[in-house]
Subunit: 458 residues, 2 copies
């Protein structure tokens, strides 16, 4: 076997013990809140049929799908003629039937359609799994990354929006991150489109103002100009979407502007219901109306959300979501309305890291005690000790190899952030005790196994 210098594919990462501990801390925090709000987990396969994935994420998305080569004699249908035509699309279709999951939403829609007869609707599901995108890797953007989604399907009720907003608030409170949850409604955007230029321009407007953060008002204006929006249309659009002020004023002013749009008024009503209900049950949530919030995806039809951290330098979105009226329609099941949110594990990780918000117990090994000894005889004695501690549930280990130098063993404990070392030497064995060293405080005590257990349990 050749001895190659190993590496991993670009855009992918190994996670060491500390990183796994920190990631789990985030996942557990999110999961606990999902469960508290009545959501149930599902998991879908990493590979989906390409027929399930293709055409769901736009042309750009299709290009970013990781495709898996068929097994066996996958070239059998590829003739030189097919190749000469350099028909890459056809070739791909013939040699690859499966792709890696691109997000959790489409697999969820597929799951709902396939299991519609077993599911009790409204179905509140959460899903926390990796997704893969063949994006150009760059800082903070990976080719394998995790999403944590919660969705409710089969219910039109705005109580679901209310639940999801509270989940956002509670998760980030649990993680100690100050966030702002922005809310808007696609029906309001539809109303705005209607009064500014015409209902059919909704998606154009949504895609354009979705870029406000990146390219600013000037950039968006230019883009709309190029798409045949007049200066008057553009300025009246910006006048509406940049409305600032108290919630009530903002909604009041919008109501008068959208009075000719039934859909726009419906959107305002939905927003008002959510805001008023939230006000009644939870005043601490920082929910902020933002009429310029658009979210690019075309399947949103009602409330839309986006969450950003208020502290630190990483101001980009760490979560988002919204209501979609017909996601399962792409798989032949119409009339199932849903609403969902997503947490971006990797971005949240970066925020917590920057703000130093990870708790201490994610910093090292969970082991509480390392048993150290000097020779075969004391090894057997130390083995009794580690067994006794494990029997009462205290995570502990014994240095496995006989190395006479106790310093090497203590170094090992320090490297792993193990807080205690129990040393077994001739003196200790004679007294049937262990020298328990507190490695953070440089203190030590001579204790029997029972005393040690008592000491460590406190």
């Amino acid at each position: 076997m050749a001895k190659e210098k190993p590496s991993i594919p670009k855009g992918t990462r190994d996670f060491g013990p500390q990183e796994v501990a920190k990631r789990k801390y985030i996942l557990n925090t999110i999961e606990k809140v999902f469960i508290k709000y009545g959501f149930m987990p599902i998991e879908t396969p990493s590979m989906e049929n390409l027929s399930t994935l293709t055409g769901k994420y736009g042309d750009e998305g299709d290009k970013l799908l990781f495709k898996v080569l068929n097994s066996g004699d996958y070239l059998k249908e590829i003739t030189p003629e097919i190749l000469t035509a350099s028909n890459q699309q056809l070739t791909t279709k013939l040699i690859s039937e499966k792709g890696l999951r691109y997000d959790l939403t489409v697999p969820f829609a597929r799951y709902v359609v396939m299991n519609r007869n077993e599911i009790a609707f409204p179905f509140k599901r959460y899903q926390m799994q990796p997704v893969w995108r063949a994006d150009r890797p760059q800082k903070g953007r990976y080719r394998e990354f995790w999403q944590c989604d919660a969705d409710v399907v089969g219910s039109d009720s705005l109580l679901n929006e209310l639940d999801l907003i509270q989940i956002y608030a509670e998760v980030f409170k649990g993680l100690g991150v100050q966030v702002e949850i922005k809310i808007n409604n696609r029906k309001i955007l539809a109303g705005i489109a209607e009064v500014v230029k015409g209902a059919e321009h909704l998606q154009t407007i949504a895609v354009a103002i979705d870029k406000l953060d990146k390219i600013g008002e000037e950039g968006v204006s230019k883009e709309l100009s190029a798409l045949d929006f007049s200066d008057i249309e553009i300025s009246s659009l910006f006048e509406i979407i940049t409305t600032k002020g108290e919630d009530k004023e903002m909604l009041q002013s919008l109501k008068s502007k959208l009075q000719s749009s039934t859909e726009g008024l419906k959107g305002i009503e939905e927003l008002e219901f959510v805001l008023n209900s939230l006000q009644q049950i939870n005043k601490s949530v920082s929910l902020k109306i933002d009429f310029s919030l658009a979210r690019g995806l075309s399947y949103y039809t009602g409330c839309i959300f986006e969450v950003a951290a208020l502290e630190g330098t990483l101001k980009s979105s760490i979560g988002g979501g919204g209501r979609y009226d017909n996601l399962t329609g792409i798989f032949g099941l119409d009339g199932v309305s849903g609403v969902g949110i997503s947490f971006g594990l990797d971005r949240i990780y970066d925020v917590l890291e920057e703000l130093k918000l990870f708790p201490d117990d994610t910093q090292g090994s969970h082991t509480k005690v390392l048993f150290c000894y000097f020779d075969e005889a004391s090894q057997a004695y130390a083995l009794q000790g580690v067994t006794a501690l494990r029997n009462v549930g205290i995570a502990s280990q014994i240095y496995p190899d006989v190395v006479k130098k106790i310093g090497k063993q203590l170094d090992f404990a320090n490297k792993l952030n193990i807080p205690f070392a129990a040393v077994a030497g001739t003196d200790e064995i004679a007294q049937q005790k262990f020298m328990l060293k507190d490695l953070n405080e440089s203190k030590q005590e001579l204790l029997s196994i029972e005393e040690m257990i008592e000491r460590l349990k406190n």
Copy 2:
């Protein structure tokens, strides 16, 4: 967009809420024991470079790797000439650089080599992730399945073997499954090869007797015959490997048979150390010497293990492992001895399912209470209730849509195995209470929110 009837790739599975809960129960049980014994988690990417994976699992294994198509213009190097030669291997190399993880051992070896300067050795790591194999799908065999591995690298000590055996025992005790842990030693097999026919025949013998379970003594004999083993050699081999009896007798009898083999005697000594040490610290583990245990993989060099359930119809292996002296050598790092074990999540799942060993709380939603109501006014009241319960950490939900029929809402609770329903009607609101229905016992009580919390916390 076309409306296709959705499906998932063969050999893959969706997991619904109950299945996820059950799988998590197994994973959590295993993980807790790993942590108690001082193991730390790592995670590696789903995709590895094919140069990392290829050649590590034999020719058969190479064929079972799922290969991922390069992104972008992946056909650019494929000329009709390459195709005409129908050189599939070359084509694959040119269009695919990455593959899906086939097991957790090779990625772990790669990880150790890449991170050797940061790792504190001995390194005790665990890893619980899915792996993918393009095997023919059949009952109990999937193309995506999970492995849970624990390995120690950078230590020769047999205390590691002792830890791993206890981990096996403790996990299955925790899961309530009676198991038998078989143990043997590759050095003993080497000694047997030496006295039966010659040291160079070790791997042939190991591969042949690894099939004993499947094809029986007769089948193995035939296979060895075909490989130029004489009848005398075969019968002397079987005489040794089928030795039965008490541990001490078995080892005593083997010692006399292998007295000419230094390596064989070393193997016996290692086995004796493990058995004696285990006897001193934990008499309850059912460890059984089996000289016919071989395990096919060529990289094992010391103790080897295999675990099987003692009850039910599923007698196949639900775990296995062993010591390897030079796994990282394939990536250029020599002299790192390791020992590891693996749990097969899917097989353990099947065993627990058959023996009905899953605990009750893996059977349904974690939600404790569903709030039910009749109209908009009682919805607002019920919303106060569900918020109060969630504020004290009780998982609860409110039926989101206004449906006048209470029966439909209670049906929903029953389908999800939610044990309580809190009903808010006009009477209840007038008294500022809720009717708490115990859905398992068909009892109900009129309670204030505080009383309800008190009641549910017990």
